[in-house]
Subunit: 159 residues, 3 copies
Amino acid sequence: MDVIEEKIIKAGFILPSFSAPAGLYCPAIQTGNLVFTSGQLPLRDGKLTEPGGKGKVNDAGLEEAARVAKIALLNALAAVKSVAGTLDNIERIIKLTLYVASDSLFSSQHLVANGASSLLQEIFGEKGIHTRSAVGVAELPLGASLELELIVQLKDNSL
Amino acid sequence: MDVIEEKIIKAGFILPSFSAPAGLYCPAIQTGNLVFTSGQLPLRDGKLTEPGGKGKVNDAGLEEAARVAKIALLNALAAVKSVAGTLDNIERIIKLTLYVASDSLFSSQHLVANGASSLLQEIFGEKGIHTRSAVGVAELPLGASLELELIVQLKDNSL
Amino acid sequence: MDVIEEKIIKAGFILPSFSAPAGLYCPAIQTGNLVFTSGQLPLRDGKLTEPGGKGKVNDAGLEEAARVAKIALLNALAAVKSVAGTLDNIERIIKLTLYVASDSLFSSQHLVANGASSLLQEIFGEKGIHTRSAVGVAELPLGASLELELIVQLKDNSL
């Protein structure tokens, strides 16, 4: 099994299989040695049924939202895999952008993002240390609580 | 005439001529074979007079907003042309980010984005299938209803 | 002294020294000849004590917010320096994204952004003319009034 997917399992998660949307846009694109992903919602099997996956985040829901950020991250990694073949081809995580649907006065978007950032570090080690922007937005598609996108760099020998 | 601009006309639109803002920032920059655009408002002749071009989007205004997204997209393509010479030099649309000024509880930002995504596919075919993030923001410059930015990859032989 | 840092001083500012967060993410990463920064808040010595550094921006606070955008920009440039060695290695500023925590009906995010854009031009001249997106978001980490990120291109001979 791939090294990185094993680490995802050791962290208590499973990389979802990605059924690319047959449609107007795609989950990820490689350009040069960079991969850009689409913004990923915390969907499981195409649904926002995850506790904390819908609605606006506030202080009471912080811990749940940080967990939900991991789900969106796994979807983003599955998107990367769809073009990179295997996550073992990742040289480094370059950028993580997290949009958090935020209740008025909720100002801990960075702590929600820590849910995803800590999982990246657990899975990828040094290569998982990324740049990051976390902002609180008004509304997200389907009423999702958050949306996450990645830019990653692939290993030169994987191109 | 350029192939892509002909397709824009067949789709019922016209690529606006772009008068670069003489100022502090610019409509697009090429770095390597990528072009980044500034966030584009749905301006026509420099004004937000388009129906649905101003104010927050809600379910009742969804269809209009999806049409307005096409206007912002054409402005972004005009920005790309300002550095690429011709849209025929585009190898692929890499990323589309759409910020939609959203009424409370409006959660169809992805359907607004489909307005732009479907026009990209109509114009560029396979090369127009991109990654995408669509989020609902609180407010936008000049009270615009949406703001759209692109990252595109140019053909190697056009550099 | 470095040329660009001298220009920052001539503009009336000082480039902050950057103590990289020991943690889950980092201030900036170089990939190829591009540097991506994390979203930067208008922190001074790690605190949001700057007037106008916290809370939502409205028309009355516009001028203050434009000044605060310069603080966030200097933090972003310090982040770039942390990987580029010196700001003199910057070939061009590619992209500036500014998220402004916005009061209802505040629609001058672009004028807030002008604070950062004009400082870039003052410091870098032609090389400081960038692409830009400015959007009004609901909430930001720590209650900050704005968050700013950069993509810059380094000189080839600095790689």
